[in-house]
């Protein structure tokens, strides 16, 4: 599976990448803004996406929406600070399948990524059937 990490902070992106210990994740892409994220998304069609909400150029919500609208569908996890429940609900409404609140512990992150892979796998088997 391919994972796209979208976050404007290099520290957060690297923290996520460091903690990806799932044997099924074979390729990882990083994007520090919405525009790059969408380019990478369309080019590589990752099965997994982690998305920050506050970013330059195109914000995370718009980004989610764009990805959701494309022909390829992936399991998307929002990793962001919880500024308000409205934003969180909005993210879920736009196709995210979960929300990991910043700041997070490595364990929380590992568990969340594990859940995300499971989700993508269930979705994949659904499509096959």
């Amino acid at each position: 599976m391919k994972l796209l990490i979208v976050d404007d902070s290099l520290i957060v992106r690297n923290a996520i990448e460091r903690n990806v210990r799932h044997p099924e994740i074979t390729e990882i892409f990083q994007a520090d803004n919405g525009v790059t994220a969408l380019q990478l998304y369309h080019h590589h069609s990752p099965e997994l996406v982690t998305m920050d909400l506050t970013m330059p150029h195109i914000d995370g919500l718009t980004c989610l929406q764009e990805m959701q609208n494309s022909s390829h569908s992936s399991s998307m996890l929002v990793i962001s600070a919880l500024n308000g429940h409205r934003t969180a609900m909005e993210a879920v409404a736009r196709g995210a399948c979960g929300f990991l609140v910043k700041p997070f512990t490595p364990t929380e992150l590992i568990e969340a990524l594990h859940d995300l892979v499971e989700h993508a796998r269930a979705k994949g088997s659904c499509h096959d059937a």
Partner: protein, 654 residues
């Protein structure tokens, strides 16, 4: 083969109470009985299997005649049937109902009585249902009822592979057992729901509350009519609209099977909610704090229900708040200690004795009002004391004191503007005074605490003369500090320039000059020096300049304190004087009025200045020391105070 030996009840540890057994007397092999007081608990009943049911091991050879079977069934009408074996093993089952169906046909008795039972067995078109001994009761019921309609009432066999034993059980016993288990389960569920301390309820896709919920839920929501209401409906009258809407939205999300369970918990908006209940008797509102947790129940791929756990966390929240408050108080004390630690010991002692002295003056003025004295005079006197203390506190950065004294001034101000003032009105000041007394107590406590740290350099309020080892700031250094600090606080850059050293100050006027110069410095920065941009606009150096000069004359000391600020605004002073009902024309008169009690042109009263007390206090203090003060000013250019103090012995106030 004896007929009776083969009849037995299989299970000896049945948890199914006896009343579900057929009432007929059945000879029991080995004399075993079904125990009513089973050692197995009710909980184990949930996991009851077929081995727990009473079964009959009535085994016959296939050659047994129909007549022999007839005699058996006549004697034991509740026996479900007979199990037939031949030399090769198990052959089949002839139930009582099948037996009677066969023999009740025309010539049935003639056909079957004399022939072996195997003949009747051949008439069974469907083989008997054989279930393993460890099959759960509920599964057995489903399997039995799944048989063709004609055979639904046939008994079924329970097979124990280890011993190779077959036991026959009737559908009646199975259904009775199943129904008893169901009611047992219900009863237990009810007990659980009545005894758990958490509010438990289940909502469906329409957010409707299911029929079973824990008793506590009713207590939490203070209503009993919850059945079939939706959770949002119940919360609507007691929850604020914003949270309610968020929660409603979240409930929708919960039923979305695409979402990951663990990863939507973090956005639960009801982790901590405040709900309001109105008390019917008083019309008052009570606030409770709840936490709501949601567990999604999946049926296949869909989320069919959501289990809601509600907990009343009011006590926890209140406790946390109390702790927070206590922490804040402790924090304040610590701040006070830190502030005290930064203050020079000698200066602190001076402040403490001034404060205590001032406090007792205030107490005295308030406590024993002299009826012969004009209360207005008392107010002025109070003002002067409070103001002096405030400038000291401000300088020492003892902000708590500064604020409390500022509040006292506020109250005095209110009294001052009253058209008529009675001695009794002074009682209004009592709360402010009490606040100050509390502060006095606190600083005392703080010092006591400090003493325990064994800090040699820090004196206590009780021992002002304790040895001081650290370097003290002299009056000049302190003045420079005051100017730097106030200029920073006001955001008005200012430079202090002087060639005067501490030793130059005449010994006997040192105290009064210290006080006067601090007042003047505040006054210069608040009223005199303009903000930097205003100064720039006027073509002045954006940084203000404050200068101090000391001259010795044969008969007096002359001190000149000058700032290069905006100078006196005579128009403004004139207008203010007119407002106070004074009609003044000459500049000389206008310069005089600003030394009068309660005169200030500042529109804004801040903690730093603006009450018109500063100059009054200076005037008063200098008068007491036998000195005089003059004011020189040019509007837009400068303001200078000239202080003259006699060289000789201090004369009494003129």
């Amino acid at each position: 083969m004896s007929l009776y030996k083969n009849v037995k009840i299989m299970s000896t540890s049945a948890v199914i109470p006896l009343e579900v057994l057929p009432s007929a007397e059945i000879p029991i092999r080995n004399g075993t009985e079904v125990a009513i007081d089973s050692p197995r608990t009710e909980t184990q009943a949930h996991h009851a299997i077929l081995a727990d049911l009473p079964g009959y091991s009535t085994i016959f050879n296939v050659d047994t005649t129909g007549e022999e079977l007839g005699r058996l069934f006549a004697q034991y009408p509740d026996l479900p049937g007979a199990i037939l074996f031949d030399e090769n093993g198990f052959r089949g089952v002839i139930s009582q109902s099948h037996f009677y169906k066969c023999i009740s046909r025309t010539f049935g008795r003639e056909i079957y009585y004399r022939r072996p039972a195997s003949v009747m067995l051949n008439e069974m078109t469907v083989p008997p249902l054989i279930l393993p001994f460890d099959c759960p009761i509920q599964t057995a019921v489903e399997q039995c009822l799944a048989r063709p309609l004609n055979f639904i009432y046939e008994p079924f066999l329970i097979y124990e592979p280890e011993s190779g034993e077959y036991n026959l059980c009737s559908l009646q016993i199975l259904l009775l057992a199943s129904s008893r288990l169901a009611s047992l389960r219900n009863r237990q569920m009810e007990q659980i729901l009545n005894s758990v301390t958490d509010g438990l309820l289940v909502i469906d896709r329409d957010f409707r509350i299911g029929g079973e919920y824990s008793k506590v839920v009713e207590a939490l929501f203070e209503r009993t009519d919850l059945r079939n209401l939706s959770l949002p409906e119940v919360l609507l009258p007691i929850l604020d609209p914003v949270t309610h809407e968020q929660l409603h939205e979240y409930l929708r999300i919960l039923f979305d099977p695409k979402l990951i369970d663990r990863l939507i918990k973090s956005i639960n908006p009801a982790k901590q909610i405040s709900v309001r209940f109105s008390s019917s008797d008083l019309g008052q509102e009570r606030i409770k704090h709840f936490t709501l947790n949601f567990e999604r129940i999946r049926t296949g791929k869909e989320i069919s229900q959501v289990l809601v756990r509600i907990e009343d966390i009011t006590q926890r929240i209140n406790l946390a708040r109390e702790l927070e408050q206590q922490e804040a108080v402790a924090e304040k004390k610590l701040q006070l200690i830190m502030q005290i630690l930064q203050v020079e010991p000698k200066v602190l002692n001076r402040f403490i004795s001034c404060f205590n002295e001032g406090l007792s003056t205030l107490e005295h003025l308030l406590g024993a009002p002299d009826d012969s004295r004009d209360p207005r005079e008392t107010i002025h006197a109070l003002f002067r004391s409070a103001h002096t203390l405030k400038s000291e506190a401000s300088f020492l950065r003892l902000t708590a004191y500064e604020r409390a004294l500022h509040r006292l001034e506020d109250q005095l101000e209110k009294l001052r503007v009253l058209p008529r003032l009675e001695t009794g009105d002074l009682a209004l000041l009592q709360p402010s005074l009490e606040a100050l007394q509390r502060l006095g107590g606190q600083i005392h406590q703080a010092l006591e605490q400090l003493k325990q740290f064994d800090a040699p350099a820090k004196p206590s309020a009780q021992a002002p003369s304790s040895p001081v080892t650290s370097r003290e700031a002299g009056p000049m250094e302190m003045l420079a500090q005051v100017i730097a600090e106030i200029s920073e606080r006001l955001g008005k850059p200012a430079l202090f320039h002087t060639s005067v050293r501490d030793d130059d100050l005449p010994e006997k006027y040192r105290e009064v000059l210290h006080e006067v110069l601090i007042h003047l410095a505040r006054n210069a920065l608040v009223h005199g020096i303009e903000p930097a941009d205003e100064r720039k606009a006027r073509g002045k150096n954006p940084t203000g300049l404050i200068q101090l000069e000391l001259k010795m004359h044969p008969e007096c000391h002359e001190i000149i304190f000058q700032d290069d600020g905006g100078g006196l605004n005579y128009d403004k002073i004139r207008r203010r004087a007119e407002q106070l009902g004074r009609n003044l024309s000459s500049e000389e008169e206008l310069r005089q009025i600003i030394f009068e009690p309660g005169f200030s042109t500042s529109e804004q009263v801040t903690e730093l200045a603006g009450r018109g007390v500063g100059l009054d206090a200076i005037h008063h203090a200098l008068q007491m020391a036998g000195g005089r003060i003059f004011l020189h000013s040019e509007e837009g250019a400068y303001c200078a105070f000239q202080i003259l103090l006699p060289l000789g012995l201090t004369s009494s106030a003129s």
